[in-house]
């Protein structure tokens, strides 16, 4: 059954890449500013039914559902109500979630019987490293066991989304602040409700502030209350800015090629291309490392934050 797993992985990478590059409206090149059309690729692109519309016809989104919500989230201002549309980022999120399921489908039976193919052994080792070297030392085996499914899902979901962004034609779902905000919101809920369940709803709010003189207690309570929200907010900004920043540097090197072509002519652009493409490849190598590192950092900091709210310092 090993070949079926590899086939499914190939399909789950190629289908979103094909859909995400075929069913989106293509950007026109702008000779005066070659950087802007490249930077447009950092934004989520709405999937449309017809990517090459007739002149005077606006492309229709592939899926538009009216949902209750603030106008800031409205993706189609022409239609009444807040519209939820399918973008290429959601394709890659779904693909990442399915890839986690496919890659881990053999892991339970491998851990039980010790038989598994190479892919299964790789991911089983990865998951065991995360459990034994990251989560259990920080949280302890008893509490860690309860939170383990959340952290494993979080780590591998972020990791696959980051890595899918490095595939040619792929889009990084974690380079959207909305996706990372959703992930950080999960950690916030785990912090608050995990703490309230572990310590009791009133004890949690009472032990939020460590022992301080009664006069500065109200100030400390406000500080700690703000701290609860700042921690996931920092997680959100960190993942989003790391992913966006790397892509922006690569796209800037590509934009420099077009800038040189506009300013000095095509020959100079060809002449400078080995240097600029070399720098872009170098940044891509760093990005591959950052993709792994940021998934680890997001998970590790979630572990520390949740641990701190489940077991406060006395």
């Amino acid at each position: 059954m090993s070949w079926l797993r590899y086939l499914l992985i190939a399909v789950l990478i190629l289908v979103p890449v094909w859909m995400g590059s075929h069913f989106v409206v293509h950007h026109d090149s702008d000779p005066s500013n070659p950087f802007l059309p490249l930077f447009e690729h950092l934004m989520p692109a709405t999937l449309v039914t017809d990517p090459h519309p007739e002149p005077g016809e606006t492309p229709q989104p592939m899926l538009a559902i009216t949902v209750p919500g603030p106008a800031a989230f409205d993706a189609v201002p022409e239609q009444p109500g807040t519209q939820f549309v399918l973008t290429n980022l959601q394709l890659f999120q779904i693909a990442a979630a399915l890839l986690v399921i496919v890659c881990f489908s053999g892991v339970p039976s491998y851990l039980r019987t010790g038989r598994g193919d190479r892919l299964t052994r790789l991911f089983a080792g990865f998951a065991l490293w995360l459990r034994d070297d990251v989560i259990y030392p920080a949280m302890g085996a008893k509490v860690g066991k309860k939170f383990l499914p959340y952290f494993l899902a979080l780590f591998f979901f972020i990791l696959f989304m980051n890595l899918l962004g490095l595939v040619p034609g792929g889009a990084t779902a974690t380079a959207s602040v909305f996706v990372t905000a959703g992930l950080a919101l999960l950690t916030l809920l785990m912090m608050v409700f995990g703490g309230m369940i572990a310590q009791g709803p009133f004890t949690y709010w009472k032990t939020l502030v460590p022992h301080v003189p009664i006069a500065i207690w109200p100030i400390m309570f406000v500080v700690e209350l703000v701290g609860i929200f700042v921690k996931p907010f920092a997680l959100m900004i960190r993942l989003f800015a790391n992913m966006t920043g790397g892509h922006m540097v690569v796209l800037s090197f590509m934009g420099l090629l077009f800038l040189v072509a506009n300013l000095a002519g095509t020959a100079w652009s060809w002449a400078s291309s080995p240097v600029l493409v070399g720098f872009a490849v170098f940044i891509m190598i760093i990005e591959a490392f950052v993709a792994l590192l940021q998934a680890y950092v997001f998970t590790m900091l979630s572990v520390l934050f949740i641990q701190a709210s489940v077991h406060p310092e006395h």
Binding site: I237, R238, L293, L301
Partner: protein
């Protein structure tokens, strides 16, 4: 006249964004450099604790980098949302 003033203001705003990005990099560089130096010291003194020191220093570096990225994102907002801020 008004257009000229607006253009000048935009130029100053872009300069501010660039300065802000540079200052954030100085701060993050100092912080991460200190962590890197200290962790190298620690590993040299106590090589058997290398794995723990490395893990902890990655966490501290990530925390500092997060603060620097706040500054970078604000610098980015100055460029991206010129009329709205």
């Amino acid at each position: 006249m008004i257009q000229e003033t607006v253009d000048n203001a935009m130029g100053i705003a872009k300069m501010g964004a660039g300065l802000g990005a540079g200052l954030a990099v100085i701060g993050a560089g100092l912080g991460i450099g200190k962590i890197g130096g200290s962790s190298a010291d620690g590993i040299a003194r106590q090589p058997e604790a290398a794995a723990e020191i490395r893990g902890a220093s990655i966490i501290f570096a990530a925390l500092i980098e997060g603060v620097a990225l706040f500054a970078i994102v604000i610098a980015l907002l100055i460029i991206v949302l010129p009329g709205k801020l």
